[in-house]
Symmetry: C2
Subunit: 400 residues, 2 copies
């Protein structure tokens, strides 16, 4: 039996998918040619891309107003691409504004949204970044979703950016609209004209549960390497008014957009403008085909909720007994990445070493924040979660 990989990404993939992938490496769809060797323009491969798109569309209820496209470069590539494409769109909508009058709103709830805002400042030209909210006060670590009253959005920004799940900090927006940790969608529509320029980084929660207000988004993007496949594949869901002619925008003064970052170039070519990352696309297609068989995102939403519930319950027990300390305020905890400290001298090393000896790997927190991080992506089963929960409880019993 393979060890359990609780890593935060790249992360665990289902054994059955890996075994199937082995076959495909040598013989893809009976062609005798491996999937990494076959032309991306072959009918076998283009049908794979179509199947993958259909699987995402049907499982997430993506409406026909939105295109699903595939590219490379990860979430970090999109930090730049969303800025360039959304500023081009803004330029086409409002050609007469000066650069200084263009604003990009950033909701900062953790390390990744902070990094995205920094990139917007780098590549946004004269446009400014308005921090709609910053969850980090007085240089303390990120520890939760701010109250709705603390958010302030601009009147007509080029984009409104948020990160749905902060992998490093273990902070996630709640999917319960009544929770104070939910995303304040209601604040966005107040007195606003036109379509929302809402951009969501869903890299580390994509396909783990339904996406609230999906249809209101301008762009949702995700690296594949958490829930649905290997690194090297980026998925984009883009509303059609955001698939803009970036060259026309450039003639009006917008920054030129590298062709591999142009949503329109990729979309017009059915995600085959240039050679895509074929092997990650293939494995993602296997993962999502398997997911469909299990009941799709709805199935994973139930399972993932249960998994997170069990781990947070054990964490709470540990907190009450003075063994653990959560890094995140109650209600804002991520379903995907549960982060906490183990209290006491050498206790963290002990926790990690003993877990490793029992076949539970990659539980170390991100190097920037330390501590423990238990990642519970789709490929982690309920049984595997029970094992780490039992281990946490045993650790509590021995150390409290």
């Amino acid at each position: 039996m393979r060890p359990i990989n609780f890593g935060a990404g790249p992360s665990a993939l289902p054994d059955s998918v890996l075994q199937e992938a082995c076959k495909g490496l040598l013989d893809f769809k009976g062609t005798g040619i491996g999937v990494a060797e076959i032309s991306h323009r072959s009918k076998e491969f283009t049908s794979l891309v179509a199947e993958l798109e259909n699987n995402i569309r049907s499982q997430l209820d993506v409406p026909p107003t939105h295109k699903i496209i595939f590219t490379q470069g990860g979430g970090t590539g999109q930090f730049s691409a969303v800025v360039l494409n959304m500023l081009a769109r803004h330029r086409l909508l409002y050609p007469d504004l000066s650069d200084e009058q263009r604003v990009m709103d950033y909701v900062i709830t953790g390390s990744w949204s902070k990094k995205a805002a920094e990139e917007a400042r780098r590549v946004g030209g004269g446009a400014s970044v308005h921090v709609a909210v910053d969850a980090r006060k007085d240089s303390k670590p990120f520890d939760g979703i701010p109250a709705h009253k603390d958010f302030s959005f601009s009147a007509d920004p080029a984009l409104i950016y948020y990160c749905e799940n902060e992998t490093v900090d273990g902070v996630q927006f709640s999917n319960n609209p009544d929770s104070p940790a939910s995303f304040p969608f209601h604040l966005l529509s107040e007195g606003r004209k036109g379509l929302l320029p809402l951009v969501g980084d869903h890299s580390s929660s994509f396909m783990s549960r339904k996406i609230p207000h999906l249809a209101d988004h301008a762009v949702i993007f995700a690296g594949a390497q958490k829930n649905i496949g290997p690194a090297g594949l980026t998925i984009l869901i883009v509303r059609q008014d955001c698939v803009v002619d970036v060259d026309a925008a450039a003639k009006l003064g917008a920054a030129p957009v590298p062709i591999t970052m142009s949503f329109k170039a990729i979309a017009d070519a059915g995600s085959l403008y240039n050679t895509p990352s074929t092997l990650p696309l293939y494995i993602a297609s296997l993962v999502l085909e398997r997911s469909k068989g299990l009941g799709g995102v709805e199935y994973f939403e139930i399972i993932n909720g249960k998994k997170a519930g069990k781990v947070y319950a054990a964490l709470k027990e540990g907190e009450e007994k003075g063994v653990f300390r959560s890094k995140v305020r109650e209600g804002s905890g991520s379903w995907m990445n549960v982060v906490f400290d183990v209290l006491g001298d050498n206790a963290e090393s002990k926790f990690l070493a003993s877990a490793e000896s029992q076949g539970m790997k990659a539980l170390k927190g991100h190097r920037s924040v330390g501590g423990i991080r238990i990642s519970l992506y789709n490929a982690i089963t309920e049984e595997q979660t029970d094992k780490v929960v039992a281990y946490m409880k045993e650790f509590i019993a021995q150390n409290s």
Copy 2:
């Protein structure tokens, strides 16, 4: 036995590598965790990246003046990235020039260099593209390397761009410096001050033979999906003076560079600025480890020269007998992609169908130029080449 895949890319990989990759998918270096699942920051994975770099460095004799870095986005991504980074370098070298005074030289010998020049016009801002030579005259197809006297280079361009092997058109610079189809390196050094800003797209010949004047290059880039691995991995060899602070250049007026396209951001992070395409990196490392065992690039240079020699001899025989017509002038023919027409009604379909029935696949030329294309990348053995040569001769005998 698997069919022989003569496709132009993604293309054939050695069976032994694919079988090894199957093991790695489930258990990478004895960790029990698969290579697509393990953290890119684990010691097992970072050592893989180091080994891959060492393998390229030693096999190609890359001097310590040059960094080897890995990224995503393919050759097409580099069409933009080389322009942005090299214009930033030019800005830092000559901050007082106006945009109009900045020139980028493009050597156009086929579809890919033509496309690269178009991208330079898109993202080059006010800088202009100077066509150093255009091998296509009077809208005829690309059919060879122009004479050295037809090249004209600018005095101090931001970059001098060429594509070493044109996959679509089957045109390649000769590696024999005495050939009229060699790259005119001697014209570049005449009266030039400073380091050469020479940029080579080596996507479809990388690791197939030694690179002439490698040390004189500013940047050499290559998508992996021809000779060394699956699509989704891009290799860069960058001279250190071209790893520039793009943000400092932007302050002087250069265009901002998306962070995933900044050579400096990638190089400073040892190619791990963000999550790389781990699975393609892994397979490339297996391919190059195997290559090393066979004798490295020197081995492949000999074999590839022999393979190409046999195919071109058969093509010539077919030309003499009125059965085939080469698309490329003698001396300019690519070792990697041999392109020709089959003369006569339905003769091309017959050639393809009969080859397919004998287990030789993907011989159809690129959709833009038609005809036949035999790709002879490293994974195609001499025996497999002999098989297609025997088939060509048989076809000639039956149809002349």
